[in-house]
Symmetry: C2
Protein backbone atom coordinates (compact mmCIF):
# COMPACT_ATOMS: atom_id res chain seq x y z
CA UNK A 1 0.00 0.00 0.00
CA UNK A 2 1.27 3.43 -0.91
CA UNK A 3 0.60 6.13 1.67
CA UNK A 4 -1.48 9.19 0.74
CA UNK A 5 0.74 12.21 0.19
CA UNK A 6 0.44 15.93 0.72
CA UNK A 7 1.76 19.43 0.17
CA UNK A 8 1.65 22.49 2.41
CA UNK A 9 1.21 26.09 1.25
CA UNK A 10 2.19 28.75 3.78
CA UNK A 11 0.66 32.08 2.81
CA UNK A 12 2.18 35.27 4.13
CA UNK A 13 4.45 38.20 3.42
CA UNK A 14 5.46 38.19 7.09
CA UNK A 15 7.25 34.86 6.63
CA UNK A 16 9.02 35.96 3.43
CA UNK A 17 10.19 39.24 4.98
CA UNK A 18 11.68 37.46 7.98
CA UNK A 19 9.37 39.19 10.42
CA UNK A 20 7.92 35.86 11.59
CA UNK A 21 9.32 32.34 11.62
CA UNK A 22 6.85 29.80 10.26
CA UNK A 23 6.00 27.20 12.91
CA UNK A 24 3.04 25.53 11.21
CA UNK A 25 5.03 23.50 8.70
CA UNK A 26 7.04 21.81 11.44
CA UNK A 27 3.88 20.92 13.36
CA UNK A 28 2.09 19.67 10.25
CA UNK A 29 5.10 17.58 9.19
CA UNK A 30 5.18 15.82 12.55
CA UNK A 31 1.42 15.21 12.64
CA UNK A 32 1.30 13.86 9.07
CA UNK A 33 4.19 11.49 9.79
CA UNK A 34 2.25 10.24 12.81
CA UNK A 35 -0.87 9.38 10.77
CA UNK A 36 0.90 8.02 7.68
CA UNK A 37 0.42 10.86 5.19
CA UNK A 38 3.69 11.68 3.42
CA UNK A 39 4.46 15.40 3.20
CA UNK A 40 6.25 15.82 -0.13
CA UNK A 41 6.50 19.55 -0.76
CA UNK A 42 6.07 22.88 1.01
CA UNK A 43 5.71 26.27 -0.62
CA UNK A 44 5.71 29.67 1.03
CA UNK A 45 3.99 32.25 -1.18
CA UNK A 46 3.22 35.94 -0.75
CA UNK A 47 -0.18 37.53 -0.09
CA UNK A 48 -0.89 37.62 -3.81
CA UNK A 49 -4.03 36.30 -5.45
CA UNK A 50 -2.28 34.82 -8.49
CA UNK A 51 0.54 33.22 -6.47
CA UNK A 52 -1.89 31.57 -4.05
CA UNK A 53 -4.32 30.22 -6.64
CA UNK A 54 -1.46 29.17 -8.93
CA UNK A 55 0.22 27.13 -6.18
CA UNK A 56 -3.12 25.60 -5.12
CA UNK A 57 -3.92 24.47 -8.64
CA UNK A 58 -0.52 22.89 -9.26
CA UNK A 59 -0.37 21.10 -5.93
CA UNK A 60 -3.97 19.88 -5.63
CA UNK A 61 -3.52 18.01 -8.91
CA UNK A 62 -0.25 16.48 -7.79
CA UNK A 63 -0.96 15.35 -4.22
CA UNK A 64 -3.70 13.59 -2.24
CA UNK A 65 -4.04 16.55 0.11
CA UNK A 66 -3.04 20.21 0.20
CA UNK A 67 -2.94 22.05 3.52
CA UNK A 68 -2.78 25.84 3.67
CA UNK A 69 -1.97 28.17 6.54
CA UNK A 70 -2.61 31.90 6.76
CA UNK A 71 -4.65 34.70 5.24
CA UNK A 72 -8.15 33.91 6.52
CA UNK A 73 -8.63 36.84 8.91
CA UNK A 74 -10.81 39.94 8.54
CA UNK A 75 -8.39 42.44 6.98
CA UNK A 76 -7.69 43.55 3.40
CA UNK A 77 -4.56 41.37 3.16
CA UNK A 78 -6.53 38.20 4.03
CA UNK A 79 -7.23 36.94 0.52
CA UNK A 80 -6.83 33.20 0.90
CA UNK A 81 -10.53 32.21 0.75
CA UNK A 82 -11.10 34.31 -2.38
CA UNK A 83 -7.95 32.92 -4.02
CA UNK A 84 -9.04 29.33 -3.29
CA UNK A 85 -12.52 29.98 -4.72
CA UNK A 86 -10.90 31.44 -7.84
CA UNK A 87 -8.53 28.46 -8.14
CA UNK A 88 -11.54 26.11 -8.17
CA UNK A 89 -13.70 28.45 -10.26
CA UNK A 90 -16.50 28.48 -7.67
CA UNK A 91 -18.40 31.38 -6.09
CA UNK A 92 -17.78 32.62 -2.55
CA UNK A 93 -20.14 34.32 -0.13
CA UNK A 94 -21.02 34.63 3.55
CA UNK A 95 -22.49 31.29 4.60
CA UNK A 96 -25.10 30.96 7.33
CA UNK A 97 -23.47 28.18 9.34
CA UNK A 98 -20.09 29.94 9.31
CA UNK A 99 -21.80 33.20 10.28
CA UNK A 100 -23.57 31.49 13.19
CA UNK A 101 -20.29 29.97 14.44
CA UNK A 102 -18.57 33.32 14.19
CA UNK A 103 -21.35 35.12 16.07
CA UNK A 104 -20.69 32.96 19.15
CA UNK A 105 -17.36 34.75 19.53
CA UNK A 106 -18.95 38.14 20.29
CA UNK A 107 -20.84 39.46 23.27
CA UNK A 108 -23.88 40.57 21.25
CA UNK A 109 -23.76 37.71 18.76
CA UNK A 110 -25.05 38.54 15.27
CA UNK A 111 -25.37 42.22 16.17
CA UNK A 112 -21.57 42.42 16.53
CA UNK A 113 -20.89 41.01 13.07
CA UNK A 114 -19.46 44.04 11.30
CA UNK A 115 -18.59 43.97 7.63
CA UNK A 116 -14.95 43.17 8.43
CA UNK A 117 -15.86 40.30 10.75
CA UNK A 118 -18.28 38.90 8.19
CA UNK A 119 -15.34 38.47 5.81
CA UNK A 120 -14.36 35.54 8.03
CA UNK A 121 -17.68 33.80 7.24
CA UNK A 122 -17.10 33.94 3.47
CA UNK A 123 -16.78 30.33 2.35
CA UNK A 124 -16.31 29.00 -1.20
CA UNK A 125 -19.33 27.09 -2.52
CA UNK A 126 -19.18 23.39 -1.75
CA UNK A 127 -16.66 23.60 1.10
CA UNK A 128 -16.90 21.78 4.44
CA UNK A 129 -16.12 23.84 7.53
CA UNK A 130 -13.21 23.13 9.88
CA UNK A 131 -14.07 23.94 13.46
CA UNK A 132 -12.13 26.63 15.33
CA UNK A 133 -12.93 26.48 19.04
CA UNK A 134 -10.53 29.34 19.81
CA UNK A 135 -11.63 32.38 17.83
CA UNK A 136 -14.63 30.68 16.14
CA UNK A 137 -13.87 31.81 12.56
CA UNK A 138 -13.85 28.46 10.73
CA UNK A 139 -11.39 27.06 8.24
CA UNK A 140 -12.69 24.93 5.40
CA UNK A 141 -11.94 22.00 3.10
CA UNK A 142 -12.76 22.31 -0.58
CA UNK A 143 -12.26 18.88 -2.15
CA UNK A 144 -8.66 17.99 -1.17
CA UNK A 145 -7.56 21.49 -0.13
CA UNK A 146 -7.70 22.22 3.59
CA UNK A 147 -7.59 25.89 4.51
CA UNK A 148 -6.49 26.82 8.01
CA UNK A 149 -5.44 29.83 10.05
CA UNK A 150 -1.87 31.13 10.26
CA UNK A 151 -1.91 31.85 14.00
CA UNK A 152 -0.13 28.73 15.32
CA UNK A 153 -2.45 28.02 18.27
CA UNK A 154 -5.46 28.09 15.92
CA UNK A 155 -3.68 26.09 13.20
CA UNK A 156 -3.00 23.38 15.78
CA UNK A 157 -6.64 23.02 16.89
CA UNK A 158 -7.97 23.16 13.33
CA UNK A 159 -5.59 20.40 12.29
CA UNK A 160 -6.64 18.40 15.37
CA UNK A 161 -10.25 18.62 14.18
CA UNK A 162 -9.42 17.91 10.54
CA UNK A 163 -6.95 15.01 10.70
CA UNK A 164 -9.31 12.32 12.05
CA UNK A 165 -11.58 12.93 9.02
CA UNK A 166 -8.81 12.09 6.54
CA UNK A 167 -7.70 8.58 5.60
CA UNK A 168 -4.18 7.99 6.78
CA UNK A 169 -1.77 5.31 5.72
CA UNK A 170 0.87 3.34 7.51
CA UNK A 171 2.59 5.61 10.01
CA UNK A 172 6.16 6.39 9.05
CA UNK A 173 8.47 4.85 11.65
CA UNK A 174 12.05 5.82 12.20
CA UNK A 175 15.13 4.86 14.11
CA UNK A 176 18.07 7.15 14.75
CA UNK A 177 21.57 5.81 15.29
CA UNK A 178 24.08 8.27 16.63
CA UNK A 179 27.63 7.82 15.37
CA UNK A 180 30.67 9.58 16.77
CA UNK A 181 32.21 9.73 13.28
CA UNK A 182 31.96 12.47 10.68
CA UNK A 183 29.67 11.77 7.71
CA UNK A 184 32.57 11.31 5.32
CA UNK A 185 33.84 8.24 7.22
CA UNK A 186 30.56 6.37 7.09
CA UNK A 187 29.41 7.42 3.62
CA UNK A 188 30.66 4.36 1.70
CA UNK A 189 29.17 1.56 3.83
CA UNK A 190 26.00 3.59 4.35
CA UNK A 191 25.42 3.97 0.61
CA UNK A 192 25.64 0.19 0.26
CA UNK A 193 23.09 -0.34 3.05
CA UNK A 194 20.76 2.19 1.40
CA UNK A 195 20.98 0.19 -1.84
CA UNK A 196 20.28 -3.05 0.04
CA UNK A 197 17.08 -1.61 1.55
CA UNK A 198 15.30 0.20 -1.29
CA UNK A 199 11.99 0.27 0.66
CA UNK A 200 13.57 2.44 3.36
CA UNK A 201 14.77 6.02 3.34
CA UNK A 202 18.18 6.21 4.98
CA UNK A 203 19.47 9.69 5.69
CA UNK A 204 22.56 10.96 7.47
CA UNK A 205 22.71 14.25 9.32
CA UNK A 206 26.00 15.68 10.53
CA UNK A 207 26.33 17.54 13.80
CA UNK A 208 29.15 18.96 15.83
CA UNK A 209 29.26 18.99 19.57
CA UNK A 210 32.07 20.17 21.83
CA UNK A 211 34.24 20.54 18.72
CA UNK A 212 33.82 16.93 17.60
CA UNK A 213 31.93 15.83 14.50
CA UNK A 214 29.25 13.18 14.58
CA UNK A 215 26.45 11.91 12.41
CA UNK A 216 22.90 10.86 13.09
CA UNK A 217 21.81 8.08 10.77
CA UNK A 218 18.04 8.10 10.40
CA UNK A 219 16.29 5.05 8.96
CA UNK A 220 12.68 5.67 7.95
CA UNK A 221 9.99 3.37 6.63
CA UNK A 222 6.66 1.74 7.41
CA UNK A 223 7.97 -1.73 8.33
CA UNK A 224 9.44 -2.08 11.82
CA UNK A 225 11.04 -5.37 10.76
CA UNK A 226 12.87 -3.87 7.78
CA UNK A 227 14.04 -0.93 9.91
CA UNK A 228 15.41 -3.36 12.49
CA UNK A 229 17.28 -5.28 9.76
CA UNK A 230 18.80 -2.10 8.35
CA UNK A 231 19.71 -0.93 11.83
CA UNK A 232 21.46 -4.25 12.41
CA UNK A 233 23.32 -3.84 9.12
CA UNK A 234 24.47 -0.39 10.23
CA UNK A 235 25.72 -1.78 13.54
CA UNK A 236 27.63 -4.55 11.75
CA UNK A 237 29.13 -2.19 9.15
CA UNK A 238 30.49 0.23 11.69
CA UNK A 239 31.83 -2.33 14.11
CA UNK A 240 33.96 -3.38 11.14
CA UNK A 241 34.85 0.21 10.36
CA UNK A 242 36.05 1.09 13.85
CA UNK A 243 38.24 -2.02 14.24
CA UNK B 1 13.95 51.22 -8.86
CA UNK B 2 12.61 47.74 -8.42
CA UNK B 3 14.54 45.56 -5.97
CA UNK B 4 16.09 42.29 -7.14
CA UNK B 5 14.02 39.33 -5.99
CA UNK B 6 14.72 35.78 -4.93
CA UNK B 7 13.46 32.32 -4.11
CA UNK B 8 14.74 29.76 -1.62
CA UNK B 9 14.79 25.99 -2.10
CA UNK B 10 15.22 23.92 1.06
CA UNK B 11 16.29 20.40 0.18
CA UNK B 12 15.72 17.62 2.65
CA UNK B 13 13.51 14.73 3.67
CA UNK B 14 14.35 15.51 7.29
CA UNK B 15 12.35 18.77 7.08
CA UNK B 16 9.38 17.14 5.35
CA UNK B 17 9.23 14.30 7.88
CA UNK B 18 9.20 16.71 10.81
CA UNK B 19 12.47 15.40 12.19
CA UNK B 20 14.12 18.82 11.87
CA UNK B 21 12.71 22.34 11.84
CA UNK B 22 14.15 24.42 9.02
CA UNK B 23 15.99 27.47 10.40
CA UNK B 24 17.76 28.60 7.24
CA UNK B 25 14.72 30.20 5.59
CA UNK B 26 14.13 32.50 8.54
CA UNK B 27 17.77 33.60 8.57
CA UNK B 28 17.86 34.10 4.79
CA UNK B 29 14.60 36.09 4.86
CA UNK B 30 16.00 38.48 7.45
CA UNK B 31 19.33 38.91 5.66
CA UNK B 32 17.73 39.51 2.26
CA UNK B 33 15.38 42.12 3.74
CA UNK B 34 18.42 43.85 5.20
CA UNK B 35 20.20 44.13 1.83
CA UNK B 36 17.15 44.93 -0.29
CA UNK B 37 16.55 41.64 -2.08
CA UNK B 38 12.88 40.64 -1.95
CA UNK B 39 12.30 36.99 -1.04
CA UNK B 40 9.18 36.00 -3.00
CA UNK B 41 8.86 32.25 -2.71
CA UNK B 42 10.20 29.32 -0.71
CA UNK B 43 9.95 25.65 -1.61
CA UNK B 44 10.87 22.65 0.49
CA UNK B 45 11.49 19.60 -1.69
CA UNK B 46 12.55 16.04 -0.97
CA UNK B 47 15.96 14.45 -1.64
CA UNK B 48 14.86 13.60 -5.17
CA UNK B 49 16.81 14.41 -8.30
CA UNK B 50 13.79 15.35 -10.42
CA UNK B 51 12.15 17.44 -7.69
CA UNK B 52 15.34 19.42 -7.05
CA UNK B 53 16.22 20.11 -10.67
CA UNK B 54 12.59 20.82 -11.54
CA UNK B 55 12.27 23.44 -8.79
CA UNK B 56 15.63 24.98 -9.71
CA UNK B 57 14.67 25.36 -13.36
CA UNK B 58 11.29 26.94 -12.63
CA UNK B 59 12.61 29.37 -10.05
CA UNK B 60 15.87 30.45 -11.69
CA UNK B 61 13.86 31.64 -14.68
CA UNK B 62 11.41 33.53 -12.50
CA UNK B 63 13.64 35.31 -9.98
CA UNK B 64 16.89 37.29 -9.88
CA UNK B 65 18.42 34.83 -7.40
CA UNK B 66 17.76 31.32 -6.15
CA UNK B 67 19.31 30.18 -2.87
CA UNK B 68 19.41 26.51 -1.92
CA UNK B 69 20.14 24.85 1.40
CA UNK B 70 20.99 21.20 2.03
CA UNK B 71 22.24 18.06 0.35
CA UNK B 72 25.89 18.92 -0.32
CA UNK B 73 27.58 16.53 2.09
CA UNK B 74 29.50 13.31 1.39
CA UNK B 75 26.74 10.67 1.67
CA UNK B 76 24.50 8.91 -0.88
CA UNK B 77 21.53 11.14 -0.08
CA UNK B 78 23.52 14.32 -0.88
CA UNK B 79 22.45 14.80 -4.49
CA UNK B 80 22.09 18.57 -4.73
CA UNK B 81 25.24 19.33 -6.77
CA UNK B 82 24.41 16.63 -9.32
CA UNK B 83 20.79 17.81 -9.56
CA UNK B 84 21.91 21.41 -10.14
CA UNK B 85 24.36 20.33 -12.85
CA UNK B 86 21.56 18.35 -14.51
CA UNK B 87 19.19 21.33 -14.26
CA UNK B 88 21.71 23.48 -16.16
CA UNK B 89 22.77 20.66 -18.49
CA UNK B 90 26.45 21.02 -17.54
CA UNK B 91 28.99 18.42 -16.47
CA UNK B 92 30.16 17.92 -12.89
CA UNK B 93 33.45 16.63 -11.57
CA UNK B 94 35.96 17.00 -8.73
CA UNK B 95 37.55 20.43 -9.13
CA UNK B 96 41.12 21.17 -8.07
CA UNK B 97 40.47 24.37 -6.13
CA UNK B 98 37.55 22.81 -4.25
CA UNK B 99 39.67 19.73 -3.56
CA UNK B 100 42.50 21.90 -2.18
CA UNK B 101 40.10 23.78 0.11
CA UNK B 102 38.63 20.54 1.36
CA UNK B 103 42.05 19.02 2.05
CA UNK B 104 42.78 21.78 4.59
CA UNK B 105 40.10 20.25 6.80
CA UNK B 106 42.02 17.03 7.41
CA UNK B 107 45.13 16.22 9.38
CA UNK B 108 46.95 14.59 6.46
CA UNK B 109 45.55 16.91 3.78
CA UNK B 110 45.11 15.33 0.34
CA UNK B 111 46.01 11.90 1.71
CA UNK B 112 42.82 11.96 3.79
CA UNK B 113 40.55 12.67 0.84
CA UNK B 114 38.61 9.43 0.57
CA UNK B 115 36.13 8.80 -2.22
CA UNK B 116 33.26 9.90 0.01
CA UNK B 117 35.00 13.14 1.02
CA UNK B 118 35.88 13.88 -2.60
CA UNK B 119 32.15 13.97 -3.38
CA UNK B 120 32.19 17.34 -1.58
CA UNK B 121 34.65 18.72 -4.15
CA UNK B 122 32.42 17.85 -7.11
CA UNK B 123 31.42 21.19 -8.66
CA UNK B 124 29.29 21.80 -11.77
CA UNK B 125 31.26 23.26 -14.69
CA UNK B 126 31.30 27.05 -14.68
CA UNK B 127 30.40 27.52 -11.02
CA UNK B 128 32.06 29.97 -8.60
CA UNK B 129 32.91 28.60 -5.16
CA UNK B 130 31.39 29.91 -1.92
CA UNK B 131 33.85 29.78 0.94
CA UNK B 132 33.12 27.62 3.99
CA UNK B 133 35.55 28.46 6.80
CA UNK B 134 33.91 25.94 9.14
CA UNK B 135 34.13 22.52 7.51
CA UNK B 136 35.92 23.70 4.35
CA UNK B 137 33.65 21.92 1.82
CA UNK B 138 32.63 24.83 -0.41
CA UNK B 139 29.22 25.82 -1.70
CA UNK B 140 28.94 27.28 -5.19
CA UNK B 141 27.06 29.73 -7.40
CA UNK B 142 26.11 28.65 -10.91
CA UNK B 143 24.77 31.71 -12.71
CA UNK B 144 21.99 32.96 -10.39
CA UNK B 145 21.68 29.79 -8.28
CA UNK B 146 23.57 29.81 -4.96
CA UNK B 147 24.06 26.40 -3.40
CA UNK B 148 24.76 26.26 0.32
CA UNK B 149 24.92 23.76 3.17
CA UNK B 150 21.93 22.70 5.25
CA UNK B 151 23.72 22.74 8.61
CA UNK B 152 22.60 26.13 9.96
CA UNK B 153 25.99 27.31 11.27
CA UNK B 154 27.57 26.62 7.88
CA UNK B 155 24.64 28.13 5.95
CA UNK B 156 25.09 31.32 7.96
CA UNK B 157 28.80 31.73 7.15
CA UNK B 158 28.36 30.81 3.50
CA UNK B 159 25.63 33.43 3.16
CA UNK B 160 27.86 35.94 4.93
CA UNK B 161 30.53 35.31 2.27
CA UNK B 162 28.08 35.33 -0.62
CA UNK B 163 25.83 38.32 0.08
CA UNK B 164 28.42 41.11 -0.38
CA UNK B 165 29.05 39.78 -3.92
CA UNK B 166 25.40 40.24 -4.96
CA UNK B 167 23.84 43.54 -5.96
CA UNK B 168 21.23 44.54 -3.44
CA UNK B 169 18.46 47.05 -3.76
CA UNK B 170 16.90 49.48 -1.38
CA UNK B 171 16.64 47.84 2.02
CA UNK B 172 13.08 47.06 3.00
CA UNK B 173 12.15 49.22 5.99
CA UNK B 174 9.28 48.55 8.31
CA UNK B 175 7.40 50.04 11.18
CA UNK B 176 5.19 48.07 13.54
CA UNK B 177 2.27 49.67 15.37
CA UNK B 178 0.79 47.67 18.17
CA UNK B 179 -2.96 48.05 18.63
CA UNK B 180 -4.92 46.76 21.61
CA UNK B 181 -7.88 46.00 19.33
CA UNK B 182 -8.74 42.79 17.53
CA UNK B 183 -8.13 42.75 13.77
CA UNK B 184 -11.82 42.85 12.95
CA UNK B 185 -12.20 46.31 14.55
CA UNK B 186 -9.46 47.94 12.54
CA UNK B 187 -9.98 46.17 9.23
CA UNK B 188 -12.13 48.83 7.54
CA UNK B 189 -9.96 51.92 8.12
CA UNK B 190 -6.81 49.88 7.53
CA UNK B 191 -8.01 48.73 4.10
CA UNK B 192 -8.55 52.37 3.14
CA UNK B 193 -5.03 53.31 4.24
CA UNK B 194 -3.59 50.38 2.27
CA UNK B 195 -5.38 51.71 -0.82
CA UNK B 196 -4.05 55.21 -0.18
CA UNK B 197 -0.44 53.94 -0.07
CA UNK B 198 -0.09 51.52 -2.97
CA UNK B 199 3.73 51.67 -2.81
CA UNK B 200 3.68 50.17 0.70
CA UNK B 201 2.78 46.72 1.95
CA UNK B 202 0.52 47.04 4.99
CA UNK B 203 -0.13 43.84 6.89
CA UNK B 204 -1.98 43.11 10.10
CA UNK B 205 -1.09 40.27 12.43
CA UNK B 206 -3.39 39.30 15.29
CA UNK B 207 -2.08 38.15 18.63
CA UNK B 208 -3.55 37.31 21.98
CA UNK B 209 -1.89 38.01 25.25
CA UNK B 210 -3.28 37.43 28.75
CA UNK B 211 -6.62 36.58 27.12
CA UNK B 212 -6.96 39.90 25.26
CA UNK B 213 -6.79 40.25 21.51
CA UNK B 214 -4.51 42.73 19.81
CA UNK B 215 -3.09 43.40 16.36
CA UNK B 216 0.33 44.37 15.08
CA UNK B 217 0.06 46.57 12.03
CA UNK B 218 3.24 46.27 9.97
CA UNK B 219 3.99 48.88 7.31
CA UNK B 220 6.75 47.87 4.88
CA UNK B 221 8.42 49.72 2.06
CA UNK B 222 11.64 51.31 0.88
CA UNK B 223 10.74 54.95 1.58
CA UNK B 224 11.03 56.07 5.18
CA UNK B 225 8.97 59.15 4.35
CA UNK B 226 6.05 57.18 2.93
CA UNK B 227 6.14 54.80 5.89
CA UNK B 228 6.00 57.76 8.27
CA UNK B 229 2.98 59.18 6.39
CA UNK B 230 1.15 55.86 6.51
CA UNK B 231 2.00 55.46 10.16
CA UNK B 232 0.56 58.94 10.81
CA UNK B 233 -2.59 57.96 8.89
CA UNK B 234 -2.94 54.87 11.08
CA UNK B 235 -2.59 56.95 14.24
CA UNK B 236 -5.25 59.41 13.01
CA UNK B 237 -7.66 56.67 11.94
CA UNK B 238 -7.58 54.88 15.24
CA UNK B 239 -7.82 57.94 17.42
CA UNK B 240 -11.12 58.45 15.59
CA UNK B 241 -12.09 54.81 16.04
CA UNK B 242 -11.49 54.73 19.79
CA UNK B 243 -13.38 57.96 20.52
Amino acid sequence: MVNPNAAMIVIGDEILSGRTQDANTFHLAQELTRVGIDLKEVRVVSDDHGEISGAVNVLRGKFTHVFTSGGIGPTHDDITADSIAAAFGVSIDVRDDARAMLATNYENGEADLTEARLRMARIPKGAKLINNPISKAPGFSLENVHVMAGVPTIFVVMLENLLPTLSGGQPMLSETIRMDSPESEIAGPLAKIATDFPELSIGSYPFSMYGKYGTNIVIRGTSQQLIASASHAVALAFEVLTK
